[in-house]
Amino acid sequence: MDLATGLNLELTPEMLGQIDALGQWLEGEGVASGGLGPRETDRIADRHLLDSLSFAVGWETPPDTVADFGSGVGLPGLVLAVVWPSTRVTLIDRSSKRCDLARRGTRVAEIEGVEVVQADIFSVSDLRSAIVSRAAAPASTLRPLLEERLLPGGRAVVSGDGSAVEGYSSLRILDQPSRLLMMQKS
């Protein structure tokens, strides 16, 4: 995968196998259970898995821990858990059904280092060093939350564009590759 090379990631055959297993599970149970839309079946690889992989752009080396805010069926957190095997990934979603699905995806694709927490992202007060969030809420809704929950120096990569953080002095935009917003707390 050229994207992986661009992101400085070395994908082993085992990792590719896990991502493939995750993709097959998403195509089957993920879509059937309503975790992904009914029209997504044919575009899971590029629209979901590769897009999830691109969230790794925020870190030169894998972080020790990362939280996925509003993780749904587990994207991008599960893909990051595969390519960052030493990182502890916490998936947070308020829906018990989506949490159950994410747990199942984790099991089916045999992904380790993942914890699924059922909670509203707006009510979890822990501060974190690394956060990702993909299509869970508009970036403009997430920005005050990130302002609160990132440790100084902590980074977040969320889907969205720069207009979401205008006026937020402590969140410095590091880069915004097309549809991702990468920020660091000062």
Binding site: R88, E115, S125, D126, L151, P152, G153, G154
Partner: protein, 255 residues
Amino acid sequence: MSVVALANQKGGVGKSTTAINLAAALAFQGQRSLIVDLDPQGNATSGLGIDRSSIRTSIYDVILKDEAIEDAVEPTSVKNLFVVPATIDLAGAEIELVPMLSREQRLKQALDLIKDDYQVVFVDCPPSLGLLTVNALTAASEVLIPIQCEYYALEGLTQLLSNVEMIRRQLNPRLEVEGVVLTMYDFRTNLSRDVATQVRNHFGDRTYRTVIPRSVRIAEAPSYGEPVEALDPMTRGSIAYRELGREFRRRHGLD
């Protein structure tokens, strides 16, 4: 002065109990010790016999209202042992701190003013990794992690260690994980032994050799508002915390 944050985002692992009884052991051994209760549950406060309804100035007033920390310090029934109490107001502090200037440094700024008055300060953290714990880790020179000898003991520690590392890099370069204390050790079970082995494999020499046994007297002591050593100096729990105190002093070069 050493400022030691007792942190673990799991609840019920022995943070307040260790704060009270280790600080008391050190106080009995002649070290002037202060406990800062940063947990809205206020267990370290009530466990030292401070009536929460009679508190005039608490850690909340110090951090949020810029009251002088000297005014919040209360004596306890043990000579050399003092406490800055917590009240339930603290439960709202995580939210109230968010818009404040230097919100991570409020406790550090307060403690800097009294650093010459005590040999050791223990900060009893809440069971979360929110802004109060960040304040404790920013003010501290070291972190002491109590770990309960039960299943899931190590769960969540990666996030704590990752936050410690981030705070060390960004806010407090001298911060280090000084030690791990095994609590509620049950000598009769394999589980306790297995957890202890796992922790020692992970943390090596940083794990204190003294383990704190599961003990009825330790559990009862807070209801008397006393450290266990004041209540019953010959019980196993008292002996363990005394030994932990000696080990702590050896590590810190305290006479």
